[in-house]
Subunit: 315 residues, 6 copies
């Protein structure tokens, strides 16, 4: 099996069966390093649905993906064996069944010593991912890009909607709250007490104001995650609605794709054990720019994973 | 309280807070005859979501609604006290909780001796509506407009998705299967045995072919529902995708809006105890023509209800 | 000056400055037979605006126009000298000023012995057109395609909105009401008394039902307009919203483009002195199909005018 | 009457009859502090129409509004009694009649000692608002966000189009020109003499260049409006077209939503007597991001009004 | 290798890597009966491009495909081994190179005794397909659905644009002109002499008028193609623009999807050796209804091929 | 002949036949200074087509163009005689024929001593433009705005796709590589060796990082092009996809329209002999913001040309 991208110079990028980054579509137990995997579930959203089509559309737009990162000076498709491993089973009608099936799928993946980048799907899908990661690696450090804190309380009697995964991850002991890092956060909030959880657990929250008060300063002050097992959850709504209109609960005043690129490039992470990109809702997109931004983030995440290459061999 | 439409000649139709048909927005226990009520839930769909925005968009497009029906020669807004009674509670993340809350809401509505037209929402919301109707009226005759039979089996381990309400209604004894009537049905099917349930219970299925083999003939042969309690469930995908692109699982080769108008006008129903219009998905619509078709159907359903006026006073 | 269409086989249809039907853009007093002229005004609409962009978009889409009509067996661009004579002056903020400027423009055009097809713009622009036509030809017979009667009363204190031109044309003596012909009309109406004007003046109203009860019968029963000066006003909303989504007040249950073609081809009109196509609203269109339908109608109207060729020479 | 937002955690944000910020819809003479009111008129625009649908769409998108402002540390929905008071009467066909009806409506509102935030509608609606405000408060200081100066001359013989309100406000003595403040202005202009009025009256014009030459500097140099009666008119086209595509006359090179947030947060205004948000044209929007930006601005304006709370009691 | 559709009841239809009809993606020399193959080339179009994305989008929409055909009473996915065999190589910049690569690909396919349904791409791709088919089967009978005759002359010095394949197929002796059959044809034409070729070669042209003068009559009079090698070329623009807005050169007054279904179901073809569906242009589609219509046609074509099953074994 | 813009205050900007900047449409040999000319060809694109509609749509959006540049303090429409000279002949099916026809057209234009701004079309059209310019002026200095280097190798056996013009311009000796200037460039790249050509020829590449590390610094460090014949090729994808979604191969992390304005205003170019704006693909645009950005760039390019006025008289 050769893990090589279908070349756009041989075969035009608009042609062929669409896989993530035009990489081979393989079974979950094949010999790849990093599996890109869809999680097409959007039953947890509170406003605009559609993220169930995220994996399909990002597969399509990632036809525009290329392997060589100019400023990092690395060709990640040469350093890593990247594969499309299809979609996790999900159940549109039932979150509970979705969590069960995702649990089985990702526990298996973890047991195979694979790393993954999951393409959602809404943000309620991150919790089962973190549970599977935790089972293998123990508590991880979380890097969380989002407009929202996702520490919010239950709504309509439901604990597990798309704005709660951080709260559950802390409560279940999946992450180290005070060594985690939230980026892109901004208001408004329903109530001031929505900040209580964050304050209590000393989550490291940074806002758009923090980024805009000098980008280089911000980059320099970011924590160093070193070799500790780290997980990145990237909610596309950390971006401003002009950059990411195709999402469920957009918030004005957000980050630009350039800022996100710079932050991702400056992150000091040597052991990225898993990652996800969530909340891309294609039916609300304009000319697919949101999916394109997701593809670009996917590229950066692969680069960070390739920096962690030493860890792959350790399994 | 005066149940009068806000006039488009006094107040332009694009202005004002949007209520169904520009009728007053009142409490569920006010003294109206027919309550139009939103059911914003789309957790039961198997493909494209978005029907949760059906009530909101149909409220907007029903600004174009008027009261006088030319060929019926009746002004329904003068014959009936029509009101917008808001939306039923629903829970986006959980079908079970949605069914519970809908049950409470509609049981109460029934106990108040009101009639309703529910605006969905996906077709999984019809089952709790029929249960509430059954509680008051016993078994009803069902008139079902749809591309699909909705007698399909469970999927992904879920009994109550948007293609199953007819099966459950039969199994729970809510409707009289062999006195019911399905219109607009067409293929393809997953398997031939998808027809077993229909055959076994002698559901009266008519297809687009039946309609197109002479519309007047078709109208003449439709059953007479007389005074028996009757319920109409109108899935917008009975229409062809060119007439109703804004829906979750469109099927080519469907009905036109004109055919639907003629069928609705020819129905002999003297006791319409409830009705719904479902599966309008605004994010997939083109220039709101699907919502407009829904509005037009709402108008015809109100007319049919006004023919049943005698029953209102009976409570 | 040669009145010849820019050939699509020499110069691709997507290229070049856009004029109606790719015909020459000439001054109003040039030596053409029929001037196609834009009337970009939409201040008279009661719901969705945008018809001000009708002339511009129909110019673009009429790049797809061709001259040879297969079933009529005539190449109208060879029989008639057709030209684009630009747009009438209009004033977006003021209907009164628009009517004045249109009056000047079209009175001048009439005095030059030209015939025109006006491309609106909303239906309130037809009244000044009929006034100019009347000044030259006296009372004309009106053929009126529409979903609406356009005999409606004033609204918000305004006499001249887009639903009133027929009433004013009758009241001002511009048309012969009982020798006129309305096609495509359908409900709903605000009130039954909206029919009083029509009944009183014996307007010849035909509905979609009339067309659908046998198209050939309908065509055979249409009046013969003979040599009498006749005017055709074509409101695009006579078409069903699936065929013409790009309009301001769409009404379900309308005509198809095919039916309109058949009616236009069967009309017995030997002296078409003017015509308009109105209510195309490009911002609400889907893939420009409404403008395309308008272009097709423009083609048929040119054919009818070419049948009236003998009248041109009479001036 | 309780002025409380319908909670998104009880009742999903996509459900229910849409009112501004999900606040109660009350009569104009109810006991609220600030009335949010629609002004659905777009007859004054010179290019793309559609702003008549601004109030309706912003009602819908303000379902995403929340009350707690993080950086201001205030919950405005607790500090102020905010209400949706419906739409002002308007007349689509006639600006003159619209001005009359608006005059009556807003003079009454002023006489009731209410403050308002008007949601347009095009920018020609600001003039009657300023007239009503002036009647109560005398000359006010104007803060004007816009791409355009709006001091332009008459066009097509019309004095009151959407680019003239500042000129009229100065000429009518409604505002203090040299104590006013314009933000976001940029070219191009039709002619250099378009600057004559601005220069003559010493209007305080700041451009995008001014903002981009150091945001913090810009914020620090903004005038202090203190306790003087101040009015904010916010034309959404102050934003760049990427942030606000849904507007009539977009101009590249504009502000970002973040910059607008920072400016609004830094404004020193202790007596905001009225405000408007205009020129949102939903049919030209992409995924409703323009309406979302308007909603965000509405939130900031409410916050500024809540800082002026002391003034409410003074009436 | 099992040629079985991924079940929508196990794995939701929006999930997974997209292949035609959710069938296995296999190598060109695998043991399937019918290969569905993309031909993503649109360099031959004269107006709107975009058909290069046809294969990709139809793969996606064919997720809604099912195997059982109700009125034919056959499950084609059980009768035939259907596979997605990927896309033919194409070259966006060069038609000549595209024809070469397609020639190689399809000659190989033919030599493997496979049948195919090609998914275009524009109509200029049919010529190399017919050449490959001819190489194996000799002259075939052509059934051609289209709005256009495709016998048009060269344009801009180019012989092989998207409106010429029939002319070349006749001239190269690939088809039997007077035993072929054209459906859905309609005007306008550039010139009357565009009919010369058709008349000279006695092509069997039927128009929309022919279909509409009694559908059953039309179906009964269609030729019987018996066991003769037959090829179906389906240009989506045979459909009316309301049913197929997503195409390059739409023509009003076209067929409905229902009419196409009835025609395809009534065709007497016992030896369908190849077929194509062309001119679907996803960027111009509305809610994917054009791709959906293409998917539906693909289903019918597969059914016709399954009727020819006996021929498969002959190779 | 008077080269004067049709005034928006006399004739609304949405009305009239659309020419670039509402300037007169004249023959190529008329007495204008600068001809704006369309090049509607998109056969060279590797992903999304549609740029063939660039000239048509930019004509429409340039109705919003005005002549007075505020910060430059110049009215270019008074300083220069600007005209719309129509479109160059192109051939959609054949790049070779397009190059030939463009060669004839632009060689003629050059021989008439005209300057031009070409509106594409895809970036493969720049090469024949540079060849024509070179024929008259010899080697020119190139200023190239783009996300891509356009020095890429052949693809699918084609030398002249839309990513190669710089390589060919260098190889053919049309430009001075080490005195040229590339702006807005960013990754990713297919391979590191995609940089070999750039390095070998010492192309002056600047990236988005360079711009964002202090805009004023960047502007100050830009080369001075003095009186040397200079050509500007502006690929709209230098802008971020949020500012220019309507393009064929968008790349996240791009420039803003404001940055581009500042760069264009700061360029020291005294002899701009020709320019183009390419890769605007209207079918992929959102609310025409990409075409609007192109119009704005056209305005800046005209300003730069007006600075070169002395050169016009030299011919």
């Amino acid at each position: 099996m050769e893990y090589k991208q279908l070349s756009g110079r041989d075969f035009p990028r608009f042609s062929g069966v669409k896989t993530f980054f035009r990489m081979p579509y393989v079974a979950v137990d094949a010999d790849y390093d990093v599996g890109i995997v869809g999680v097409p579930y959007d039953g947890g959203v509170s406003y605009r649905p559609g993220a169930r089509f995220g994996p399909s559309k990002i597969r399509e737009m990632s036809s525009l993906g290329r392997g060589y990162h100019w400023s990092r000076d690395v060709n990640i498709l040469e350093r890593l064996k990247v594969a499309d491993i299809g979609d996790s089973p999900t159940v549109p009608v039932s979150q509970e069944k979705t969590y069960q099936k995702m649990g089985n799928f990702f526990n298996n993946l973890m047991s195979l010593n694979k790393r993954f980048i999951a393409i959602g799907g809404d943000h309620s899908t991150t919790l089962p991912l973190l549970r599977a990661v935790h089972k293998k690696y123990g508590k991880v450090r979380l890097i969380h890009f989002d407009a929202h804190l996702d520490t919010y309380p239950a709504a309509w009697g439901c604990e597990y909607h798309h704005g709660t995964f951080v709260r559950h991850a802390v409560d279940e002991g999946l992450i180290v709250p005070d060594k985690s890092f939230q980026v892109g956060i901004r208001g408004p909030l329903a109530n001031k007490d929505d900040l209580d959880f964050v304050n209590k657990h000393k989550l490291n929250v940074t806002t758009v104001d923090d980024v805009r008060n000098g980008l280089n300063d911000f980059l320099n002050k970011m924590p160093d995650f070193g070799d500790e097992p780290t997980y990145i959850s990237f909610d596309i709504d950390c971006l401003d609605p002009s950059y990411a209109p195709g999402t469920g609960t957009p918030v004005p005043g957000g980050l630009t794709t350039y800022e996100v690129q710079r932050i991702l490039r400056a992150l000091k992470v040597k052991n990225l054990v898993g990652a996800d990109i969530v909340e891309v809702s294609p039916p609300y997109d304009s000319s697919d720019i949101t999916s394109l931004a997701a593809m670009d983030t996917l590229f950066e995440l692969l680069c960070i994973m390739s920096d962690s290459k030493i860890n792959f061999t350790k399994g």
